[in-house]
Structures are given as C-alpha cells and as structure tokens.
Symmetry: C2
Subunit: 199 residues, 2 copies
C-alpha cells in the first residue's frame, strides 16, 4: 500500500494552484513560473516537483472547468430544447471559459490535441458532449453535415485567441466575443453548399 501524501506537500500543492490562478489571470498563461513559486512562498524546485511543466499546472487548473463543460453539454442534451440553440449556448459557454487568461486558447488547443496530456480524459468527455449536441442539431437539419466537434473547437478557440491578440492594442474588443460566436454558429449552421441553393 502507498502512504498518504505528507501534509506539507498537500499545502504547497494547493498554494501553488491558487497563486498560479491569480498569476495567469493577471498576466496570462506565460506568467513566469519562478514568480508563481515565490508568491506561493515555495522554492522553484517544489513547483516543478508538483507540476513537471507549465502545461501540467494549467491542466490542473482547467480540469474542473472542462468537466463542467462536458456536464453542461449533457444537461443541454437532456433538456431537449431547440438543438441549434443548445449548441449556441454551449459554444458560448466554452468561449467564455477560454477567455479566462490571456493566451489560454492556444494552451487549450495544445492540451486538446496532445494525446499524452493528462487532460486527455477530460477533453474526451468534452468532445463526447459536443458530439452529442452536434449530432442532434444535425438530425433536425440545423447544422451542415461535414463539420466536427474538433473543428468547432478550433474555430471558437481560434476566434477568441485572435480577439485577445487584436485587443492588445484596441482594448474593449473582448465584448465582441459573442458576436464572433454567432457568426461561427451561423457558418456551422448553414447548409453545406449555401451559396448555390439548388436542391
């Protein structure tokens, strides 16, 4: 059997998480890890023992939120409302989640597409939730048939990232996020070959 974690280790782990949350919020996902360790009252070595790299730290912070996103998809799926509206609601929530820290969208895309990541299980749940919502919307003809959950995520995260980067010199643009999402949804929702509406 394996011993329980020593309580100083646990305390440091939690302090690091809290401090990292603040640092990422204030300075984006590239906030210096040495600063985080210092602010947590801990040596840099301790940080690296608990979190072997920046992504591991980010992953620990995001895990919970991703599971929440999967749960929201499940809830929307069961509520049985308008499928396209459900998709819109969900993607908006996803977008809001990725607005948390500067450069978070980049990190999310990295974590998502890395099969070695510890986030892969959580990401799989999110993707499954998205698949269900997408599939339902597709059945009522509300969504073009060739779009995937992964692509939706790429587009949403890409749009948010672009927003962040443009906003660096034109602050205030972040509120445009929902308009971008609308635009994306309309693209996703459009019939597959919309500009020659033959059929």
């Amino acid at each position: 059997m394996t011993r329980p974690v020593r309580k100083d280790a646990l305390r440091n782990y939690q302090r690091l998480l809290e401090t990292a949350e603040h640092a990422f919020t204030a300075h984006g996902t590239h906030a210096p890890l040495e600063q985080i360790a210092r602010d947590a009252g801990v040596g840099i070595g301790t940080l690296y023992r608990h979190f072997p790299n920046r992504d591991a730290l980010l992953a620990a912070l995001l895990q919970e939120r991703w599971i929440d996103q999967a749960a929201l998809a499940e809830k929307l799926h069961e509520e049985d409302g308008d499928p396209v509206e459900a998709l819109r609601t969900w993607l908006t929530a996803v977008a809001r989640g990725t607005l948390l820290y500067r450069d978070l969208p980049d990190a999310c895309l990295r974590l998502m597409s890395d099969p070695e990541s510890e986030m892969h299980r959580a990401w799989k749940q999110v993707r499954d939730g998205g698949d269900r919502l997408l599939e339902r919307a597709r059945r009522v003809g509300g969504v073009r048939s060739d779009v995937t959950t992964v692509e939706m995520f790429a587009l949403v995260h890409g749009a948010i990232a672009a927003l962040h980067k443009s906003a660096a010199h034109h602050p205030g643009t972040v509120s445009d996020a929902s308009r971008m999402i609308d635009l994306l949804i309309d693209g996703i929702a459009a019939p597959t070959a919309p500009r020659h509406p033959s059929t």
Copy 2:
C-alpha cells in the same frame, strides 16, 4: 543630402532577409535570431542594427505579400464577378499567405493591430481592399451587415492558427484550411440576425 547606404550594409541586409525566410519556413516565426545571424554569416549586433526586433524582420518579409493581397482585392473588385465568390477567393488567398510559417497568424494579428508597426501602411491597403470587397458583397445582400474586415481577418487568422496548433499532433490537417474558410464565409454570408429578428 544623405549618403548612399554602404554596400557591405546592403549585402548583409539582403543576406539576413534570405536567411530569415528560410529559418522561418523551417522552424516557424520563433526561430532563434542568433541562429539566423550566424547562418547569414553576420554578427548578432548587425542583425539587430538592421532589424530592431523580430517583428521588424517579419515585417520586411511580409510587406511585399501584403501589398500583393491588397492588389488582389483590387483586381477582384474590378473584375466585377460574383461579389461573394470574389470575397471567398480573396480570403482563401489571405489564408494561404498566413500558412507560410508556423505561428505566422499570431504575428500577423500583432502587426495588424499595432499602430506603431511599420506594417501599418501596408495593412491599411489590405484593409481598404477588404472593405471594398465586403461592401460590394453587402450591396447584393450576400453578406451580413454587421461584419467588418478586421473581424474577417481575425476569424481567418484565428482559424489558421488553430489549425496549425492542432496539426502539431495530427499532421496533415492543414489541407482542411479551405473547408474552414468555407465555413467562415458561410457564417459571414448568413443573414444578420437569423433567429431573433427583433429590430
């Protein structure tokens, strides 16, 4: 009057540009500048005298392409074909231009939105070209009325960036670029307020 540039300076300038082009193509926009200087057979100080930072180097490489993009917009505008198709053609060309180096979309967004950038004049030309194409498409009702050229650029560059980042672990996805563009265009082309037409 001001003296002409010394010919050794000119030679080094051109060598640096060529070498940077290769390095960025091979290793993305974050290729080490010291390596570029070395490969160009030049000291690091010389690189920094010609190009005060990475963006200046990138700008020198992109300037010409951006002007080409503006010219393409002008050409499409004058050819007087289907306005939405013209927009699609143009955005596809823009997207292809940003696929050149890894992480180029991020750099483009940065250069675009920085009014201090030396790229600002070229970017203005590109934006004007986009505005004209967009306006024409809007007049025939082929495009929602609330989308701007800047937003189109953000969406396209964001999508390409996301593609690049996802492709890091799933190579080959880059060919999906044109499908993403289609999806975006369909969103841009959708009617303005499709589901809540309330004023």
